[in-house]
């Protein structure tokens, strides 16, 4: 559902959600009478809600644990993540208000809390270590192995079936094993209906909240911070309180064995926004960080490209209309609009601009560079002409160093943490022994490795590559001029380069194959590949994602010409 109405008081479209589920205008704090249809302010208390909101619990079991539900676990995770974001400088409103409200909305929608007693669920869940004498319902209860294979998480955990199978051998009639109360039924749920919560989805929640607040963090940055350890994700269950025991199927839910993928988190976020029936998000205007004009500026700086290119990115943005508020602002549930990946869009725009100016066909850009080099020899005043060749060499060198570092970091990544995980009490001792051995070995070889392992993570930074104008070696290109490659035509500045090649003549159907185009390195010029590689590194995504976006932009840009000359070769004259 959209909520696009203008506020009665101030005529802005800038809505937030109150605790009570009502819309209020952020600009003037006018609370409307409009409430969300599903919001039911009469909370019907059931034992579940009590345990969540009041924190009282059924008495502790003999191993010091308590009863806890999966959604409580996720709530904790979100809380930790929000705290980390706050520490990074995000406004507290995100944690205190927005995220909390989104989460509550989700709980309601999925009928896990804040609603009438969920149908049939409490009946099915059984607590751990209680051997059930209810033999009749055995046939309905799925085997552990079956549940393990149901989940969409990584295959690695599935191979731990050996542990699991030993559990199921123990007693046929015991319930499926988990530390939480509803671990087993959680995995059994029909996904489509209820949008089951997963670890990657916690990041979708965070991003959604950040987007609502229009915080200056892109999704790629968020994910990078996760990988760098600034935002809890891997092994976040360490922060669960002692009495929340994790074992069995909980591991499948909370244990992460791979890094979140941009597309996955992004798609989930959109799914979530629609699921929660959120209204139109706050506007992304040209003063927002996420607006392509702003992001392009940032990425141009990071890519060590001349500031002058910014004029060109703005021109392209304007021409194809990707700077419009309506294009950029998220409208959940509107399936016809393509959802905007702000960072990828900005990067792709820069790539298109580079293609416009330099053609990037592995010939023309070097020719231009030679001319620039010549001119620079004779020109000592003013800013130097931008030489593509020099830029390439400088950037490539730094990029190679960074890529190598990244590769090594990935190989050296430590996935396990101090808090051990075990499927059941039976293999606890084995797991602990293994852990001890690992620690011993690490100590032993640590003495031989010489280098001290970084105890703290490096400070999170928004810029991965930085170039200083103060360097006298000329390795910073921000101030360089594009004079050599521009000319005047009818009072407008245009490029010397008259040509352009399209990445693809026809776009694929994204819904069918998931992509707009299919990128294969060998089919494109090396310079193009290099530029894609640069932004692929900065955004930590596959080059093909940027390539898709480039295709999309090109088709918008050359739309008219394409329609006319569909059968032509791919090189068009502008």
């Amino acid at each position: 559902r959209d909520f696009n109405e203008r506020c009665a008081q101030c005529s802005e479209v800038n809505w937030g959600l109150t605790d009570g589920g009502r819309f209020y205008c952020r600009s003037c704090h006018n609370v409307t009478e409009r409430t969300r249809e599903v919001v039911n302010t009469d909370f019907i208390t059931n034992s579940r809600v009590q345990t969540i909101s009041k924190g009282s619990r059924k008495q502790e079991k003999n191993d010091g644990g308590c009863e806890w539900y999966i959604c409580e676990g996720f709530q904790l995770v979100l809380k930790k993540q929000a705290e980390a974001l706050e520490a990074l400088g995000v406004c507290p409103q995100m944690k205190d208000e927005i995220l909390r409200n989104f989460w509550r909305c989700y709980l309601q929608k999925s009928k896990q809390a804040y609603c009438k007693r969920p149908a049939g669920e409490t009946v099915k869940t059984l607590s751990v270590c209680e051997s059930s004498t209810d033999v009749d319902s055995d046939s309905e209860r799925p085997s552990l192995l079956h549940l393990l294979s149901l989940s969409e998480s990584e295959g690695d955990l599935q191979t731990d079936c050996s542990f699991a199978s030993s559990v199921s051998k123990v007693s046929e009639s015991t319930s499926v094993y988990s530390g939480s109360v509803d671990g087993s039924s959680y995995l059994m749920k029909n996904q489509k209906e209820k949008l089951r919560m997963t670890m990657p989805m916690t990041l979708s929640f965070c991003y959604m909240a950040l987007l609502w607040l229009r915080e200056p963090i892109t999704l790629s940055e968020l994910l990078r911070f996760v990988v760098e350890g600034h935002i809890p994700y891997l092994n976040v269950f360490q922060h669960f309180p002692e009495k929340m025991k994790l074992c069995g199927l909980d591991l499948k839910i909370f244990c992460v064995e791979s890094w979140p993928v941009y597309e996955e988190v992004f798609d989930k976020m959109n799914e979530l926004a629609a699921y929660l029936d959120l209204p139109r998000f706050p506007d992304i205007t040209d003063s927002c960080f996420l607006h392509p004009d702003m992001l392009c500026m940032k990425y141009l700086m990071e890519a060590n490209l001349p500031d002058e290119l910014h004029n060109w990115t703005c021109r392209v943005v304007k021409k194809i209309g990707v700077g419009e508020v309506d294009f950029l602002t998220l409208m959940p549930g509107n399936k016809s609009t393509r959802k905007v990946k702000y960072d990828v869009l900005a990067a792709a725009i820069i790539v298109v601009v580079l293609k416009l100016l330099f053609l990037l066909d592995d010939r023309y850009e070097w020719l231009l560079s030679e001319f620039a080099e010549e001119r620079n020899k004779h020109n000592t005043e003013g800013s130097p002409y931008f030489e593509f060749k020099k830029w390439y060499e400088v950037v490539k060198q730094s990029l190679d160093v960074e890529l190598k570092k990244l590769d090594e970091e990935r190989a050296k990544y430590l996935w396990r943490c101090e808090k051990p995980l075990f499927y059941s009490v039976k293999n606890k001792s084995k797991v602990l022994k293994r852990r001890q051995m690992v620690v011993n070995l690490q100590n032993q070889f640590g003495k031989l490795s010489g280098s001290v392992r970084r105890a703290e993570k490096p400070n999170p930074s928004s810029f991965q590559l930085s170039w200083s104008e103060e360097n006298t070696d000329g390795s910073c290109f921000h101030g360089h001029s594009l004079r050599g490659i521009l000319r005047e035509k009818c009072g407008l500045l245009t490029t010397m380069n008259p040509d352009y090649w399209l990445c693809t003549v026809k776009l694929c159907n994204e819904k069918l194959c998931g992509h707009l185009a299919h990128y294969r390195e060998v089919e494109f010029p090396q310079s193009y590949h290099f530029v894609l590689g640069l932004f692929s590194f900065l955004l930590r995504i596959q080059p093909s994602s940027i390539h898709d976006e480039v295709c999309m932009i090109e088709h918008k840009l050359f739309n008219k010409k394409l329609c006319k000359k569909l059968k032509y070769n791919t090189v068009l004259r502008k």
Partner: protein, 412 residues
């Protein structure tokens, strides 16, 4: 969308492993250790489907690093090995054995012995039966170390004998080591395999105590039992034994015959040829010629003066007798295309003359007969020899000149 690029635990560890391998190949032990620290986490995951699991990887990699790293001590090494023994029960005995090898390389014989004894007493359900082969090896190596101790006692005893002392305790100890060693060594050599060191030691023991029959039987088995892999050393040991026993030339020759078949370039071919040349039987002499020609086909023999003198002697003898020139012709026919460049080039003539006069003499004789008096090698060497006024070279020149027609016969 494809998840191939997704970075996960498995991929991360694979990358880690390849970094370790690179570091090991470049002998960067510190760097390998750095990455190994990250790799050991793999122990906490189940890899039962992989062919080589992380525990084996860690054992092998860790062993290499600790063995070569300058800062690592034997104490640390031993501690590591003990941990590795607990890691994989299916590999227990193998790890024990390799640990023992390392100890031996480090000269720690006593510790090695202790480890072997400990391993021998290990029992683990059905694993004991499965790892039967490794157990036999462990017993065999313990036998080997017993032999070593026996040997030491024997030397002490011999010393004392010389000095006129008699020492009962030493003698008794020696005998007890013998018994222990013999039992284990005998067992392992029953199994088909390559057991050179065990066989040698066992035979040594048997000979000392006078059990020549058993020794002969063992060596025959080792050399001739077709179940055992073909092993030139088996024949060498047998030959040496027979020689020690003063056996007849006939049995010595039969022992070396197979060696010639397997390894025509073996150093014993000289002895073989010498025996064969002297034989009364024509067939044996013929074989002798074949043997010596075959040996000289190999580059390692090019500058072996003794070998050339054998060939020269036999060739000379044949030429003088005038009989069996066809033998030379037969041997030469397959070699005449390449031996001239291989052995008798002008360059070699100069070099041989400079470095080794005797070698050049023998070779020149052979060259002169096979290639005639006008061949480069003979001409150069004989000229140099005569210039230096060496008597035998004058004789050589005369001989070859006199028998030049032979060359014409054999080259046709």
């Amino acid at each position: 969308s494809s998840n191939e690029h997704k970075l996960n635990f498995k991929k991360s560890k694979e990358a880690c492993l390849s970094y370790i391998q690179d570091a090991l190949l470049q002998k960067q032990w510190k760097r390998a250790a750095e990455f190994l620290i990250c790799y050991v986490e793999s122990l906490e995951k189940d890899y039962s489907r992989e062919h080589v699991g992380p525990s084996e990887m860690i054992w092998r990699i860790g062993t290499e690093i600790l063995w070569h790293h300058s800062h690592s001590s034997m104490k640390e090494f031993n501690c590591f090995m003990e941990q590795m023994k607990t890691l994989g029960v299916k590999r227990y005995l193998k790890v024990c054995l390799e640990h023992v090898f390392h100890l031996l390389c480090n000269g720690q014989i006593d510790e090695a012995y202790q480890n072997l004894s400990l391993a021998e007493s290990w029992r683990f359900g059905e694993q004991t039966a499965i790892q039967d082969k490794e157990m036999k090896l462990i017993q065999a190596y313990r036998g080997l170390l017993d032999y070593y101790s026996w040997s030491k006692q024997k030397n002490i005893l011999l010393e004392h004998d010389e000095d006129g002392f008699s020492d009962l305790t030493v003698e008794q100890e020696m005998h007890s080591y013998f018994r222990k060693a013999a039992v284990n060594l005998k067992e392992i050599i029953k199994i088909p395999g390559v057991w050179d060191v065990f066989v040698k030691c066992y035979v040594d023991l048997l000979e000392f105590y006078g059990d020549h029959n058993e020794a002969r039987q063992v060596l025959n088995e080792y050399a001739y039992n077709s179940k055992f892999p073909a092993n030139p050393n088996a024949h060498v040991y047998l030959y040496q034994f027979l020689k020690r026993q003063g056996e007849s030339k006939k049995s010595l020759i039969s022992a070396l015959k197979i060696l010639h078949d397997i390894v025509p370039s073996h150093e014993l071919m000289i002895d073989f040829n010498t025996m064969l040349q002297k034989s009364k039987k024509r067939k044996k002499r013929r074989l002798g010629l074949e043997v010596i020609f075959a040996a000289l086909d190999y580059a390692g023999w090019k500058e072996n003066t003794k070998a050339w003198s054998c060939l020269a002697r036999q060739v000379k003898q044949i030429v003088i007798s005038g009989k069996h020139l066809d033998w030379i012709q037969q041997e030469w026919s397959s070699r005449k295309d390449w031996w001239p460049a291989f052995h008798f080039s002008r360059y070699l003539a100069k070099r041989n003359w400079q470095e080794n006069e005797s070698l050049s003499y023998e070779k020149a004789l052979v060259a002169g007969i096979l290639l005639g008096k006008d061949c480069k090698y003979f001409k150069y060497v004989s000229h140099q020899g005569c210039k230096a006024q060496l008597k035998r070279f004058r004789g050589l020149k005369k001989f070859v000149n006199r028998h030049n027609p032979v060359y014409l016969r054999i080259s046709g």
